[in-house]
Symmetry: C2
Subunit: 200 residues, 2 copies
DNA sequence: CTACAATCTTTACACTGTCAAGATTGAGAG
DNA sequence: CTCTCAATCTTGACAGTGTAAAGATTGTAG
């Protein structure tokens, strides 16, 4: 599919999202300007305003796309280990942490409040809720198997998410003491975290 | 203590940090510009450069100050309930979440990677480690009392921190479904989170 | 084929972080 | 007490930012 060099780009909206993700990975959050994104997409600096109300809207779109990919990864793992609840839980958590490590800046954008008024972006809200539903279903399977404490699956899902999310966050921000990181592999640390809330 | 209107401010460094915290609380992360901070401190727009190498350095100072206050709050609670391990744990966690809620934007600045090269600010690193040490000591007390699983106190402290930090983060970002928030008080939710990793 | 609406460009503006050069001043040396 | 200097603060400038307004281009519906 060769890129046509017409006045109308054809699929600028997605091209901008893609360019944004790339610049994010390359230059970090503070290095991602609308103008750079536009230039990378081969378009004038205010062309983005035909597709996004402002920079926040582009960030919302990037975040939403990120949630979609996160869902893909975790749901793939969940399906693969559908018959082994505890393994499903651990592998999904590992996928979550890997996702964070693969593209730390996008992960930060998704979760660190760079996006300020999330409620104004319904797609973003829907996609993030879809992820929570996935976690919840994994948790429920583990509760049924006696691996996680029974009780509100919402609250327990929140615990599971929280413990892994907290770990990922502290990891990305370098807040985890080096001594700990040298002690065990990341993978083992994730398992350790989860085992704190697992019964068996 | 009347403010003298001299050419030399006298304590501009601390005044800038204070002004920064105030603007942060008022206008949010994206609204905190160096120039606004300088104006609020009653000083020209590039005066800050006599005390901070760049904007990141001011942010580092604000974060460091934040960690100091967080430590104060948690250690006060820890001392108060020094003879009741489980209560000490819960109250310290509650203090942590309250700190996050009292000034969400400062909390975000401290933990959300707005500060990009933390390692270059040794005071920041020291202060954040001091907090972790405090958590560790609380955890160790609870391990000794059979309330938390025994084993590496570093790793267990990481779990406790992670589960509460994750909760606080999801809370601040509005990622916690409303249904859950309506179900229980925040205080009860924090307890619920911790009880996931508590034995008794 | 034509008109319109969507898309993209150009131009402009206020604001940002940062730097360089100069003004002011407090404090120590003599 | 005076001189001097280094620390501190101001002024002025610059490139880069987000965004709004007005105009140019073009695919497409009628």
């Amino acid at each position: 599919m060769p890129k046509k060099k017409t006045y109308h780009h054809g699929d600028l909206k997605n091209a901008l999202i893609k360019a944004g993700v790339e610049i994010l990975a390359q230059d970090g959050v503070s290095g991602m300007s609308l103008r750079k994104v536009a230039m990378k997409a081969g378009v004038s600096h205010s062309a983005p305003y035909s597709h996004f109300a402002d920079k926040q809207a582009l960030i919302a779109a990037i975040s939403t796309e990120g949630f979609r990919q996160l869902y893909e990864r975790m749901s793939a793992v969940a399906e693969e280990y559908n018959s082994q609840p505890s393994k499903q839980l651990i592998e999904a958590a590992w996928a979550y942490v890997q996702f964070a490590l693969d593209d730390p800046d996008r992960f930060k954008v998704m979760f660190s409040g760079i996006l300020e008024k999330e409620k104004e972006y319904p797609e973003f809200v829907a996609e993030s809720q879809r992820n929570f539903q996935l976690v919840k279903s994994i948790v429920e399977l583990n509760q049924a198997a006696g691996i996680l404490r029974s009780g509100s699956s919402d609250l327990t899902a929140l615990s599971a998410w929280g413990i892994i999310h907290g770990f990922a966050m502290l990891l990305l921000e370098g807040q985890i003491p080096h001594a700990i990181l040298e002690l065990k592999s990341l993978r083992k640390l994730v398992e350790f975290q989860l085992k704190q809330i697992m019964l068996a």
